[in-house]
C-alpha cells in the first residue's frame, strides 16, 4: 500500500507522517518513507541526514543524458541504482528525500523515468508512506499517481478543510480510484474536531488532540522515532489504521 499525507501548509502533515514512520518502525513493517516536501521537514523530524536526495539523482541523470546516454533502458536501471544510493536505511525503514530543486529547465522525460522508478520502488516494500508537499501541486502533476490512499490532513480551520476537499477533487480528477480520508489535527477536544468537519463531504477518519509531548519534540528537534506513546500518537495511529497503513 502507498499512502500519501496531503493538506494545506502548516496543518501538521510532517508530524503525522513522522508518527506513522515511528509506528511502522516499531511494528517491524518493511516501509519506504518519502519526504516529498522540498522543505525537508520529515528528515529533521526523524533526525535523518540523507546522503543524497532525489534531486541529486535527477541531476546525475541529467548529466548522464547530457553525456550522450539517452537509451531509455540504461537510464531506467541507472535511476534504480542512484535511488538505491539515496536510500537511508534504519532497520526495516528506508527513507528517501526529494530534496530542493536548484536548477531550472524542463526534463520531462527524466522526471517521468524518476517517477516510474519511485512507483516501482514503493511496490517492493510492504508499505510506502509519503509526506507530500503542501497544496495540490504534486497531486496535480500526477506525482502521486501510484498512491492507493490519500490521508488528508487539516487543522480545525475552515480554510484547511476546504484545501483538503480541493486536494481530494484534484486527486479524483487526475489520479482516481484511490481511497481518501480526513484527519483533523491539533483539535482542543472532540467537539472542536467535530465542528470543523461537520459540513465536509470527506470521510472523516478521526482527530488528533493538541499534545505537549509532540510540541516538545518539535521544539527540541528530537527524533520522532523516540516519541513515547501519547494522546496525539494514539489519534494518528488510529487514523492510519483505518486507512489500512498500520495494524493496531
Amino acid at each position: 500500500m502507498i499512502l500519501a499525507v496531503c493538506g494545506k501548509g502548516g496543518v501538521g502533515k510532517t508530524t503525522i507522517t513522522a508518527v506513522g514512520a515511528r509506528a511502522l518502525h516499531a511494528a517491524g513493517t518493511r516501509a519506504l518513507v518519502v519526504d516529498a516536501d522540498p522543505a525537508g521537514g520529515l528528515a529533521m523530524a526523524l533526525d535523518i541526514q540523507p546522503k543524497k536526495t532525489l534531486n541529486d539523482v535527477r541531476k546525475e541523470l541529467i548529466a548522464e543524458v547530457k553525456a550522450g546516454r539517452r537509451d531509455e533502458k540504461d537510464l531506467a536501471v541507472s535511476v534504480d541504482y542512484l535511488v538505491a544510493e539515496a536510500l537511508t536505511e534504519m532497520d526495516n525503514i528506508a527513507f528517501l528525500a526529494i530534496g530542493r530543486p536548484e536548477d531550472v529547465g524542463c526534463y520531462c522525460k527524466v522526471n517521468v523515468i524518476l517517477k516510474d522508478a519511485i512507483d516501482g520502488l514503493g511496490r517492493l516494500f510492504d508499505v510506502a508512506l509519503i509526506d507530500a508537499e503542501a497544496g495540490i501541486e504534486q497531486v496535480n502533476r500526477k506525482v502521486m499517481g501510484a498512491v492507493d490512499y490519500v490521508l488528508l490532513v487539516s487543522d480545525t480551520s475552515a480554510k484547511a478543510v476546504r484545501v483538503a476537499e480541493t486536494i481530494k477533487e484534484v486527486a479524483d480528477r487526475m489520479v482516481g480510484g484511490e481511497g481518501a480520508g480526513l484527519l483533523v489535527n491539533r483539535a482542543r477536544d472532540e467537539g472542536e474536531a467535530a465542528a470543523a468537519s461537520k459540513d465536509t463531504p470527506l470521510d472523516v477518519l478521526g482527530w488528533v488532540p493538541e499534545d505537549d509531548t509532540v510540541r516538545s519534540f518539535d521544539a527540541s528537534q528530537k527524533s520522532f522515532f523516540e516519541l513515547p506513546d501519547c494522546p496525539a500518537s494514539t489519534g494518528i495511529e488510529s487514523a492510519l489504521s483505518k486507512a489500512g497503513l498500520i495494524q493496531t
Binding site: R69, V77, A94, L121
Partner: protein
C-alpha cells in the same frame, strides 16, 4: 574479427592468469535446478552478503562474439562463493560473454543487455549503473541460508541470454577474490563500454561527423565499428 576481440582476448588472458595464481572453479549452469526468479529489494537488515559495493570494488561488463570461443553454460568463479564469504561484503566483478549471429549490432546489443537487466532472482537485489560499469548486489540472509550461489546467478543470466534470438552460447565469469582482481578486469570493461557508447551514438544520432566525435579514436581502430559506421552512412545516403 569482432567488435570485442581485444577485450575477449584480455579476459581470457586474465582468466588463465587467475587459474594459475589462485585457481578458478567451474560450474555447469545447464544442469542446475534454477533458482526462483522474482524482483526483490533486500534491505541492509536482511542482507546476508553484499557484493560489489562501489566503495569496495564493483565491475560489470557484457561482451559478445560471432565466432569466438564461448564455453556454453559454464560459470567460472574466482574467489569465495556467496555461502563461503568470511565477511559480509565482497568485491564483485561480473563478465558475461555471449556468442551469436546477428544482422544488426545495435538491436542485438539491446536484446542481450535487456535480458541481463530483466533477470532477477528471489532474495537477491541487483543494481547496475551502466555508465560506471558497476553492479551492486545484496543477497538476503534467507537466500544465503537456502544455498543461493553465484552458479545460480550465472545460470539465470545464461538462461536469459540464451532465450534471445540468435544467441547460441553464453557463459559467466565472476570475481570475488579481491578488489585488485576486480580492478584487473577494468581495462577490458572500460574498453568495451567505449565501444558500446560509440555504437549507441552512431545508431541514435546518425551523425557521422568524425571530426567532432569523442569516439573517433575507437571507431578508427576497431574494424567492426568502421564497418558499422560505413553501413549506417551508406544507409543514410540512400
Amino acid at each position: 574479427m569482432g567488435l570485442f576481440d581485444e577485450q575477449l582476448i584480455e579476459i581470457r588472458r586474465l582468466m588463465s592468469g587467475m587459474r594459475d595464481e589462485e585457481g578458478l572453479r567451474e560450474f555447469d549452469a545447464l544442469s542446475r535446478e534454477p533458482w526462483p526468479l522474482g524482483r526483490s529489494l533486500v534491505l541492509e537488515e536482511d542482507t546476508g552478503l553484499e557484493l560489489g559495493n562501489p566503495r569496495i570494488a564493483s565491475l560489470s561488463t557484457l561482451l559478445w562474439t560471432e565466432d569466438g570461443d564461448v564455453a556454453d553454460g559454464r560459470v567460472t568463479l574466482a574467489g569465495p562463493d556467496i555461502g563461503e564469504a568470511q565477511e559480509n561484503s565482497l568485491p564483485f566483478g561480473q563478465v558475461l560473454i555471449v556468442r551469436g549471429e546477428f544482422a544488426n549490432e545495435y538491436d542485438y546489443y539491446r536484446d542481450v543487455r535487456d535480458a541481463v537487466y530483466d533477470t532477477h532472482l528471489e532474495g537477491f537485489s541487483v543494481r547496475t549503473m551502466p555508465s560506471r560499469q558497476t553492479i551492486w548486489c545484496r543477497a538476503s540472509t534467507d537466500a544465503v541460508g537456502s544455498g543461493l550461489s553465484l552458479a545460480d546467478l550465472g545460470a539465470a543470466f545464461i538462461e536469459a541470454l540464451k532465450s534471445v534470438p540468435g544467441v547460441s552460447a553464453a557463459e559467466a565469469f565472476f570475481v570475488t577474490s579481491s578488489a585488485s582482481d576486480v580492478a584487473r578486469l577494468s581495462p577490458a570493461a572500460t574498453g568495451a563500454q567505449r565501444l558500446v557508447d560509440a555504437m549507441m551514438k552512431m545508431y541514435q544520432e546518425q551523425n557521422f561527423d568524425c571530426e567532432t566525435c569523442e569516439y573517433a579514436d575507437v571507431c578508427d581502430t576497431v574494424m567492426d565499428l568502421k564497418k558499422i559506421r560505413k553501413k549506417l552512412a551508406d544507409d543514410k545516403a540512400v
